[in-house]
Amino acid sequence: MADVPLLTLLLAVPAAVALLIAVMPREAVRPIRSVAMGGSLVTLGVAVAVLAAFEVGQPGFQLEEEVAWIPQWGISYRLGVDGISLLLVALTAFFMPLVVLAAWHQHERAKGFFVALMAMGAAMLGVFLALDLILFYVLFEAMLVPMYALIGIWGGKQRRYAAIKFFLYTLVGGLLMLVAILYLYWSAGAQSFDYDVLRGLELTGTEQLWLFLAFFAAFGIKVPIFPFHTWLPDAHTEAPTVGSVILAAVLLKIGGYGFLRFSLPYFPEATISLAPWMLGLGVIGVLYGALVAMMQRDIKRLIAYSSVSHLGFVVLGAFALNQTGAAGSVVQMVNHGLSTGALFLLVGFLYDRTHERAIAEYSGIMRVTPVFGGLFLITAMSSLALPGLNGFTGEFPILLGTFAAVPLAGIAATLGVILAAIYLLWAYQRMFHGPVEGRAVGLTDLTPREIGVVAPIVVLMVAIGLYPGPLYDRVNPTVEVLVEEVVAVAEGADVATVDQTGDPAAGSDAPIELDAPAGSDLDSADDDDEDEEVSR
């Protein structure tokens, strides 16, 4: 077992299944989906094996596999997993069978659909595992095509617009990153695309700044960070249920992952000097996303904006530049995937029945379908970070870390929890409470299949909420090393540092001065919504 190349297997299985389905006759829907389910379960099994083989407490890359691919250009096929990517890989593999099960009754062009799903699975797993920058880039862009197909072919009314917007927006970011990668290869003198080689490069401050910005283009768009987020609501609303789930659960994590994997270790000086800006953008994302979510009439769009808000927390945690925040950031990525994925699944079940996404069309669902209502409530509570569920175990460390870095940012971001309660509970109340009216009349409760899709997620939500220790044990060592590496650059440098050990009393001088744009945003955000009761 020790010599089995687990990581390659992890990639190969979904890729092979995709090819297999591609050659199957398109009418054979049942065999196709069974093959898809089988393949995704096998992938999950391999992921479990990876989890088991992972040695807790070791910060570096494990289970590495390396094969020279194009040695003349310094490109190799290199895979590896560490504390940051392990959980994300597990999350992806976890969602694959669930997503196949959710799409069980997809009959229209089923073959293409499942091929796209499997291909996405392989590409997403690859992105988290790749340790060669060209390999990473190839897989990063490879993810776009199946997603584009999923949105563009199986999506809603505006699908073409949404699909093209998604594709082009993300592609542009990716291209800028490619330029940066090539620069690293050529001008920085690396002559190799290997991750560790590039990590060891000595770059000047200006170089780091521009390269950071180029990588930021790619990852910032993926997160999505304000103001590069407008592709997300359209993509989510127009995508089919399963597409939204994958998008929310996995694709959005690549942004946060990218920052932790590349931006921080490669460009530490740039990271430190730009950290206040990033924190500012994170805070804006949290508050802005929540405020705009409140105004949405379409439930999927509301959840999309809530994603923008929640992923703002991930950005905060990553750029707080302390262990607590960064570890919280990784765990929060997993948590967000679980809760937002579950939300989209549940909304998808509703949509399957009524083809209606407008919140105002529903009332009293809870009375008609208690199981659905109950699961939705638990998921909403997880999303708004109720302690006892998983959301809190990620958000609180992030907020703690952010406060330790820049107290004002921490305070502003904490206000986000009020807003989250407002928009989620408003939507829940409007749709699930009240007399039974509108599209809620005649709704059938969740079928066993649908419960089977959501139940594992809910179980994980509760389990992680009560006992997130195992997750953190795997994340902490890697994050510790990463943060130390970045912060070490700051000592001796003239730029403002983030300090965990200070005594940041509220109102007293913060270790880092927030620049005016970020500061003024925070000020204006500070006096909004104390208790917003939205009665429509």
Binding site: L168, P227, H229, T230, W231, Y288, L291, V292, M294, M295, Q323, T324, G325, A326, A327, G328, V331, M366, M381, L386, P387, G388, T393, F396, P397, L399, F403, P407, G410, T414, L415, V417, I418, L425, W426, Q429, H433, G434, P435, V436, L466, Y467, P468, G469, Y472, N476, E480, Q500, D503, P504, A505, A506, G507, D528, D529, E530, D531, E532, E533, V534
Partner: protein
């Protein structure tokens, strides 16, 4: 004092109740989950599952109390770690319980009153279709409150803190088919969250300064904290407490929360959840004792709230709303107590208030039950005859809350007023406290008179109800609580030598006298007179029925009835601007940012279209382009050559 503040925590011996204390919280939580999942199938057995869990927790609490009492005072602070919870980087929090006198006192209150209310609900909710869900939520609440009270870390306390917020959301909105109920539930949750933000930021500050959130480490370190940190933490925790305990400015959710079933009101809003704020401040007494000026702020908030709420209560006509505002007002008293440093007095009032307020709410529920769920006290009257037990126990409750001599409320209120009188700068607060005492007696007497005395106005209604006494499951708790309201005073007959004061010594800092505004004897006499006057006035004025409001007083009464228009104020000052902000941002998002994105797309298309115009399809225009291009190219080359060399030389002739 040898307790938490000195770092005298001991690890729980194996097999001791402290080592099992976590089950107090976990068992009700598990039974809640069970009831939610399979409750329907259990049918009639469902409530009994919940009652048994509550009973189990009570038994465990009693056992823990007895065991703790048997230990030396110095060894009464016991911790037990159940499991690790959150090892996130530098933050390390465990699932751990702290069993000390304060925690045990609170758990006894929570489990004791909780069990009584579970039993009461058997009768009250008999005809409801959703019984398993109700009892599941009751259990969930019990478990959450115990997590709050037993938590060894501020963060585990916070878990319980938010979970009880969730439970109040679930229970206030229990009858969610009515929109107002659902709306009230959401309001409660959101406003609580505002307070929670304060709590969280306080935790951030404490963690930043101390490096841990564990009470065992935080409380001893409180002495060494910087002044700024102390003040900030003190105020922020106060903010959190005002959210949970419905003080100014975050009290607006409590009256609306009466939308829930009455046992819920009794449990959550009278006896337990709202007291979490008081508990928090008492628990953090080593910190507050360092900042007495902030303590005065706490007391001032309590006093102001007590006054405002009492004034509002005088003008209310709904049987539960009077009690709701009364709760807010009495919580104000508790804040006054912990504000001036009389922590055990605050806890004492917390306990006695738990008894008589739960009693009053359950009695109100009994009355509503008899009145076919009507709640307007102007339409009641004379019910003492039909509901003797309810009326009798309600009378005892009224006397207790008014501070009639020798009732539990008398002793606890006296102790608070005496403490305020012994605090420097407490003059205004004391005056307010006395005025509120008068008002409390008055409006409670009015309440009692309009409901139980005088002409039976309900007989003139269209479909008059036929009131009858409630079943034993409902009246038994009433009687038990009445006994407690009468005899509860023995818990702390004297502020210095009382049982409770001694018991709580390891957990909270003792009160220190800093002034002598008025002698205790005189104070007691004044308070008794005020209580008697208030009671008499209320009964005499209202025993014949509701009174007409004079024209000159009408605006004031209306203002009080509308709860000083605080809701409207919040709507105008915060909600509406917030709404417009959100509208503006959404517009900006769609037109501005997305507009830029779409604009970029349109610009590219535009450029492409413009560029495409070069492809005319005309051969001749292509030819022209070739010509011009060639000329330019040659001119360029020639120019380069001429600049570089000596020019073009034409040699020779033919």
């Amino acid at each position: 004092m040898t307790g938490l503040a000195e770092g005298a925590a001991v690890v729980a011996p194996a097999g001791s109740p402290a080592a099992w204390a976590w089950l107090m919280a976990v068992v009700p939580l598990v039974s809640a989950a069970v009831l939610l999942l399979v409750g329907r199938r259990l049918g009639r057995a469902a409530p009994w599952v919940a009652i048994l869990s509550a009973g189990f927790s009570l038994t465990l609490a009693v056992w823990a109390a007895v065991w703790l009492a048997g230990r030396e005072a110095a060894e009464r602070t016991v911790v037990h770690t159940v499991a690790t919870w959150l090892p996130a980087g530098e933050l390390e929090v465990d699932w751990a319980v702290l069993v000390d006198p304060l925690a045990v006192a609170m758990s006894l209150l929570v489990t004791g009153v909780g069990l009584l209310i579970h039993v009461y609900s058997l009768g009250y909710m008999e005809h409801d279709s959703d019984i398993p869900r109700f009892f599941a939520y009751l259990n969930l609440f019990l478990g959450s409150m115990l997590v709050l009270v037993l938590g060894e870390s501020l963060l585990t306390l916070f878990v319980g803190w938010e979970l009880v917020g969730l439970c109040s959301y679930l229970l206030i909105g229990f009858w969610f088919d009515e929109r107002p109920n659902a709306s009230a539930a959401k309001k409660a949750f959101v406003i609580n969250r505002v307070g929670d933000v304060g709590f969280m930021i306080a935790m951030f500050l404490l963690f930043g300064a101390i490096g841990s959130l564990s009470l065992v480490e935080v409380l001893p370190a409180a002495e060494g904290l910087a002044g700024g940190t102390l003040v900030a933490v003190g105020l922020l925790l106060l903010l959190g407490a005002t959210g949970k305990s419905a003080q100014i400015p975050l009290f607006v959710w409590l009256p609306d929360a009466m939308a829930g079933p009455t046992p819920v009101s009794a449990l959550i809003h009278a006896a337990t959840m709202v007291t979490a704020g008081v508990y928090l401040i008492a628990r953090m007494s080593p910190l507050y004792v360092q900042i007495p000026e902030i303590g005065l702020v706490v007391a001032a908030v309590g006093a102001a709230t007590a006054l405002v709420a009492a004034l509002i209560a005088v003008a209310q006509n709904d049987i539960k709303r009077v009690l709701a505002y009364s709760t807010v007002s009495q919580l104000g008293y508790m804040f006054m107590a912990v504000g001036v440093g009389a922590y055990s007095a605050g806890i004492f009032h917390l306990l006695t208030h738990g008894f008589f307020k739960a009693l009053l709410f359950l009695a109100a529920g009994s009355v509503m039950h008899a009145m076919a769920d009507r709640g307007d006290i102007r339409e009641m009257g004379g019910l003492l005859r039909d509901l003797p037990i309810t009326g009798g126990t309600a009378a005892i409750g009224t006397l207790a809350i008014a501070g009639f001599p020798l009732t539990a409320g008398f002793f606890s209120k006296e102790e608070i007023l005496a403490a305020v009188a012994d605090t420097a700068g407490g003059e205004v607060i004391l005056a307010i406290g006395l005025v509120v005492a008068l008002l409390t007696a008055f409006y409670m007497a009015r309440w009692f008179a309009l409901v139980f005395l005088g002409p039976r106005r309900f007989e003139e209604l269209d479909h008059p109800p036929h009131p009858h006494e409630s079943p034993l499951s409902m009246t038994l708790p009433l009687v038990l609580l009445a006994v407690a309201s009468l005899g509860g005073g023995v818990l702390n007959l004297d502020p210095e030598t009382g049982v409770l004061a001694g018991w709580l010594a390891p957990s909270v800092v003792a009160f220190e006298q800093t002034a002598a505004i008025i002698g205790h004897g005189l104070l007691e006499a004044i308070a008794i007179v005020l209580a008697l006057v208030g009671l008499a006035a209320g009964v005499l004025l209202f025993r014949a029925g509701p009174r007409e409001v004079s024209a000159s007083a009408a605006p004031a009464v209306r203002f009080a009835q509308d709860a000083f228009r605080v809701d409207e104020l919040y709507r105008a000052a915060i909600i509406t601007p917030g709404h417009w902000l959100a509208v503006g941002l959404t517009w900006f998002d769609e037109r501005g940012i997305d507009g830029a994105v779409n604009g970029a797309g349109r610009a590219t298309s535009g450029l492409a279209t413009a560029g495409a115009r070069l492809q005319t399809g005309f051969v001749r225009s292509y030819a022209l382009a070739v010509l011009i291009g060639t000329v330019l190219l040659i001119a360029g080359l020639v120019g380069v050559w001429m600049a570089a060399g000596d020019g073009i030389v034409l040699t020779g002739g033919w």
